[in-house]
Subunit: 326 residues, 2 copies
């Protein structure tokens, strides 16, 4: 395993120290390293809190700041944070208007956030993201929450910033999640530091179609395809499920998994946009970068959100975080 | 080779198409794909033009926009752009105040920019960046220009934006370059698409200390070290050469080479900052991300710029590009 680390046990703590040091104008790290929160609390707004296992950076800590999250709770790599982290974060950032927990649909995260929500004394509610079309809707665990979570956090973050109340924010989060679908492909495996070996084996001529952001198996293992074919396969899977039609306005998030350079991501954005346009969709917003990663995995995901004027306005609203700023 | 491409010949063009599509509010792609320039020309300012081989994205196209570059000329992967690209860019963006070419010190880039500078009819000058301390100062080709080029482009870009004249900008660029040093390490090789094989072999327990941004051999091949030791080795090499002393104020750019996830980069930022502080320097500005990359190479470089109030103010000035925004 080749990584920049001093030791497995210190890795998360030292990375958070670097993150909070670098972005001290935006965030602060809790003294117990239980959460990252905004350096300045904003009174009267609903607090948005997310979190999950580390290894997906900049998700979620990179999205803490004006116009997006109030706090993020990082677990160890690919491991859910604990309820006490979420409770401590809620107590720190709740300014009296309540807390909305935004949780990716993984068993550990859902269980721990649910415990925290029950234990927390203040007004709170939870929304679960589950945008990954690689998983069948009828599967018992439901669909995984992947890169579409960024879109939910951005849009709902803008609404929270302008002062929307908790029930309205929950309804909005639910609606944005319902308008959003993602699917990812991996060309190589990630390597979890504590394991020291690639999570899965994959041949030189293969790709994992429908991979999860922890290197979970996807829909199928197929031969590596040209970029245009990959984009077509993904866009078809997404649009079939989303029920998007010619004339719809769409946002595309072309997300890298960590090991794929931006030259390839922009090429994939072009390929995905052409596929969407061929089907009559109008791609009016796009975002390219490694935002919801899987450590060092080479690969990318495409997320499509159907837009309406309300969502567009909230997407366009100013955001000032470590990883997103406009 | 596992990459998101349709073909080697179309790769650059399709990536540029995606880039200009995604950032149409900031840049436009020349009809002949010879350069990326600002979507809105600003009258009366000196135009800053950079460029070089592709594969280092977001350098340089990602730095085109308000407060930084006016145009960037992308060559094929790891190949210099041609003089006609630079000439076309100069003709497009020169608003009468002249052109400053910012060129990384590689033989092909220096030769082609020098030809373009000679052929160009308008007022122009050139500055060459050479911040890589891995190369001995006395080597015949001189030092390579690496991630420190970002610092030069940001600081000089801010000065150009406020209206500084060409001679002052050239002097400033020279001064910032002289205050800046970088050194990089690679854990894996990059793979050039047209070659299809890793540029160099490296063992599981090895790292290349002093690697170049095209995978060029560094100072030496050494055993993989803990992050703190790597940071110490790099910071020592840089400070010895830079002549920085206790009490100096410094900017640190912790730059990823493309295949290293941000969790490790922030950990390295923390490690590098602690090393600098141990030596009495004050790290007042830091930037972390994969900005000057080498395709999919795992590795990172540390850049240190000695700061003074003028450079700090220009660094802090607003910038609005695809890759840097504040």
């Amino acid at each position: 395993m080749k990584k920049f680390v001093n030791g497995i046990d210190s890795m998360l703590q030292q990375s958070l120290a670097g993150f909070s040091r670098c972005h001290a104008d935006i965030v602060r790290l809790d003294a117990g390293s239980r959460f990252i929160c905004r350096s300045r609390k904003k009174a009267g707004k609903v607090a948005l809190i997310s979190g999950g296992g580390s290894g997906h950076e900049p998700l979620h800590a990179g999205f803490v700041g004006t116009g997006m999250l109030d706090a993020a709770c990082p677990g160890q790599v690919f491991t859910s944070p604990t309820p006490d982290q979420m409770l401590a974060a809620a107590e720190a950032v709740d300014s009296g208007a309540g807390v909305l927990f935004i949780v990716k649909n993984y068993a550990g995260d859902v269980m721990n956030f649910s415990l925290a929500a029950e234990m927390y004394g203040g007004d709170n509610d939870t929304v679960i993201t589950d945008d990954d079309v690689a998983i069948d809707k009828s599967s018992s665990a439901g669909r995984r929450g992947v890169a579409g979570t960024l879109v939910v956090e951005k849009v709902v973050g803008a609404a929270a910033e302008r002062g929307d109340a908790l029930p309205a924010l929950k309804a909005l989060a639910f609606r944005v999640n319902a308008m959003t679908r993602s699917l990812g492909v991996a060309l190589t495996s990630c390597t979890v530091p504590a394991v020291g070996q690639p999570t899965f084996d994959i041949g030189d001529g293969e790709m994992e179609f429908g991979v999860g952001i922890h290197g979970e198996a996807g829909r199928r293992r197929i031969a590596l395809q040209p970029a245009d074919t990959i984009a077509e396969l993904i866009v078809e899977s997404i649009l079939d499920d989303l029920g998007a039609r010619a004339g719809d306005e769409a946002l595309v998030l072309l997300n890298g998994f960590g090991g794929t350079p931006s030259m390839e991501l922009y090429l994939m954005l072009d390929a995905a946009s052409r596929q969407l346009e061929r089907r009559g969709l109008r791609v009016s917003r796009s975002l390219v970068g490694s935002f919801v990663t899987s450590l060092d995995m080479a690969g990318c995901s495409i997320t499509v959100t159907k837009l309406d004027p309300q969502i567009v306005a909230l997407w366009d609203a100013p955001v000032h975080t470590a990883a997103l700023r406009w």
